[in-house]
């Protein structure tokens, strides 16, 4: 591996986090380089989603140890909006419905916030409409959704498309997609996956959090990590996902608990 030549985008070191005094992350280590796609798998409650929220800066989680570096920035010092402007994007597992707030306005305000940071010019209402029309094609989304309230009354698939649309508009350096495949039928999954593939570049990185192999059939990861009890237990290539699909998580947890006993 020629990692020294590519740029380190994300570096998570010995990360510990609590929610309501309950430890959820117990020492996560992860390095993500430009151009890479990582998949994080694991059972429910293993800490995958927490990891993604902690990277994005969700206020409900308390960091009790470790660091997260994003390029040259210490992410833990930054507010969620500052992280987003730097280019960290979290695709939500359950995108939030916000009645009354126009989707179009929301997209425009957030796009401009990111553009301002990138020193790109601000888009006015008309320019933005053109810009968004372009991006809509990537996710094959009906423009009618722009005029509705943010995610309100969207079906599961529409919500996920709206997430990928945001990703397309914000052009992040690191996209973390938290169970973007859950609740999607096969056609919607393909559209979403095609969008993700299209947006991946040699200068950006993607982390996919998922339960299932089927997303990884559409988006090929460079690395697959398995999480349990708030830690990454095993890291390997894409073949690990196939193995998990076949044999479940038990054997990995077995191996790792044996390891701990031997130590």
């Amino acid at each position: 591996m020629l990692k020294s030549e590519t740029k380190l985008i994300l570096e998570v070191c010995d990360l510990h986090a609590n929610v309501e005094d309950q430890p959820i992350l117990n020492g996560v280590n992860l390095q993500v380089y430009a151009g890479e796609i990582h998949a994080i798998m694991g059972r429910n409650g293993s800490g995958k989603s927490t990891l993604s929220k902690v990277i994005a800066g969700h206020p409900a989680y308390k960091i009790t140890g470790g660091t997260i570096k994003f390029e040259d920035n210490n992410l833990l010092d930054l507010d969620p909006e500052e992280r987003a402007r730097l280019g960290v994007f979290l695709g939500f597992q359950y995108p939030i419905e916000i009645p009354g707030v126009s989707n179009l306005e929301f997209l425009r305000v957030s796009t401009n916030a990111r553009r301002e940071y990138e020193k790109k010019e601000e888009l006015d209402t008309f320019e933005f409409e053109d810009f968004v029309q372009e991006k809509l094609k990537i996710v094959k989304m009906d423009p009618a959704f722009l005029n509705r309230s943010v995610n309100e009354g969207f079906s599961g698939g529409e919500k996920k498309r709206n997430e990928i649309l945001q990703m397309a508009l914000l052009e992040p350096k690191l996209a973390i997609l938290d169970e973007t495949d859950s609740g999607l039928d096969i056609d919607a999954l393909r559209v979403v996956a095609a969008g993700v593939n299209k947006l991946a570049t040699p200068n950006t990185a993607t982390i996919l959090i998922t339960h299932y192999q089927r997303l990884l059939n559409e988006i090929t990861p460079n690395y697959v990590h398995v999480m349990a009890n708030g830690k990454i237990l095993k890291t390997a290539g894409k073949e690990l996902a196939l193995q998990l699909e076949k044999s479940g998580y038990d054997w990995i947890e077995q191996i790792s608990s044996n390891k701990e006993e031997n130590q």
Binding site: P59, E81, I98, V101, F106, S110, S149, Q166
Partner: protein
């Protein structure tokens, strides 16, 4: 307390005009009622000191109207729109669109008497004050199948008490979009009574914008009688009054009508805004959908009391009521009380109430897209208001109320 009321009644001009008999009724009931009392359930949360001030104001004079009203802030009337300005003598004779006409004095007498059944002024302070001192009435009838629209503007003169009254009758299958705008001025009080009769199959979209400022107060009562198959939709917004009390009362005479009540009150500084609604189903198969929202900022106080009565006659009623409240300051306060009284067994009735601040998850979602927390909060507040404002008749857009609200909240 009673004497203050009596003194006020003493100095009123003697009854005259088309409302002379109404004035007698109003004065008689005020004599018995006196000022509202703390220990009565309907007034226990009200800042009564501010109510007392109202009767100390002189009555507005219509000949003073031109000099004392600030028209600069009124948006222009749209090209084919009609605006009637109340308390301005000349405007009672505006050209009305085809399909809307002024009611004759005989019609007025008949209709006003009919509506006595739905207003119980003996128990009703706001209505009684209006009746006691008001001698002007705007009485309109809408007929035909074409949808009409109308704007009624009710300004206040500074440092006076401004009573006004509207009687609106929609004939069979008539349709109207009504925008009613009440504006408060410094140290003024506005008291508006609107009575609405909806005949079979008629539809009314009623927008009510009540914007006060600088120590102004408001009493506004809407009494709506609905016949079967009629539809009534109300979107009411209250903002900026030192004290205000809005009392919509819907009476579904024979059931089988649709009622939609949306309310939004946004209080800041030391304001106290209240909505006391009552929906009475008097026949089967009536429908109600009610959403009341409040935002309380600074040291303000928002009150909602929503009564729904479903008597035995009202089988197969379907009523839902939701009170959603945002408390955005530590010194603000919110009181909400849904009130459901049911004596029919085959009905669907649900109500709900929530009080919270802005949702953390919503804020985080916006922030995770690069929007800073102030801007995110503003977006959410706007969205919260927009759910109601969006339903106002189109004519309301020109009033740009959302911007004013947000500006005041960000002060």
């Amino acid at each position: 307390m009673k004497t203050e009321c009596l003194e006020w009644l003493e100095q009123l001009p003697s009854p005259d005009g088309v409302l002379a008999s109404e004035q007698l009724i109003g004065r008689e009931s005020l004599r018995n009622l006196g000022l509202p009392k703390k220990y009565s359930e309907a007034w226990r949360l009200t800042n009564l000191k501010r109510i007392e001030k109202i009767l100390k104001l002189p009555l507005a004079q219509s000949n003073q109207y031109e000099n004392s009203i600030d028209k600069n802030q009124w948006p222009e009337i749209p090209k084919d729109g009609v605006r009637i300005i109340l308390n301005n003598e000349t405007n009672y004779k505006t050209n009305l669109p085809n399909g809307i006409r002024f009611l004759s004095n005989d019609d007025i007498k008949e209709t006003i008497n009919l509506s006595h059944q739905s207003i119980d002024e003996t128990n009703d302070w706001g209505v009684s004050v209006n009746k006691a001192c008001n001698n002007k009435l705007l009485a309109l009838k809408v007929d035909g199948l074409e949808e009409q629209s109308l704007e009624i503007l009710i300004p206040s003169q500074k440092e006076t008490l401004n009573p006004s009254r509207i009687l609106l009758v929609l004939g069979k299958k008539a349709k109207l979009k009504l925008l009613q705008v009440i504006i408060g001025e410094g140290k003024s009080s506005n008291n508006n009574l609107i009575q609405i009769h909806l005949d079979e199959g008629s539809e009314l979209n009623h927008g009510l914008i009540c914007f006060g400022k600088n120590d102004s107060s408001l009493f506004t009562q809407a009494c709506i009688k609905q016949n079967i198959d009629s539809k009534y939709e109300l979107n009411a917004i209250q903002h900026g009054w030192s004290i205000s009390r809005f009392e919509p009362r819907v009476f579904q005479q024979n059931g089988k009508a649709k009622t939609k009540l949306n309310g939004l009150q946004i209080s800041s500084e030391k304001q106290q805004l209240a909505t006391h609604s009552l929906v009475n189903f008097n026949g089967p198969e009536g429908e109600l959908e009610q959403l009341q929202k409040s935002i309380a900022a600074d040291q303000s106080h928002c009150i909602f009391n929503g009564a729904v009565k479903v008597p035995k006659e009202a089988q197969k009623t379907n009523a839902s009521q939701l009170s959603r409240n945002l408390l955005i300051s530590k010194a603000a306060r919110i009181d909400t009380k849904p009130e459901l009284e049911i004596v029919a067994d085959d009905v669907k009735c649900a109500h709900g109430a929530t009080i919270s601040q802005l949702q953390e998850e919503e804020l985080f979602y916006l922030r995770s897209r690069g929007i800073d927390s102030n801007q995110a909060a503003t977006l959410l507040l706007k969205g919260y208001c927009q759910e109601i404002i969006n339903n106002l008749p189109v004519a309301a857009e020109r009033w740009q109320i959302l911007n004013q609200i947000i500006e005041n909240l960000n002060k």
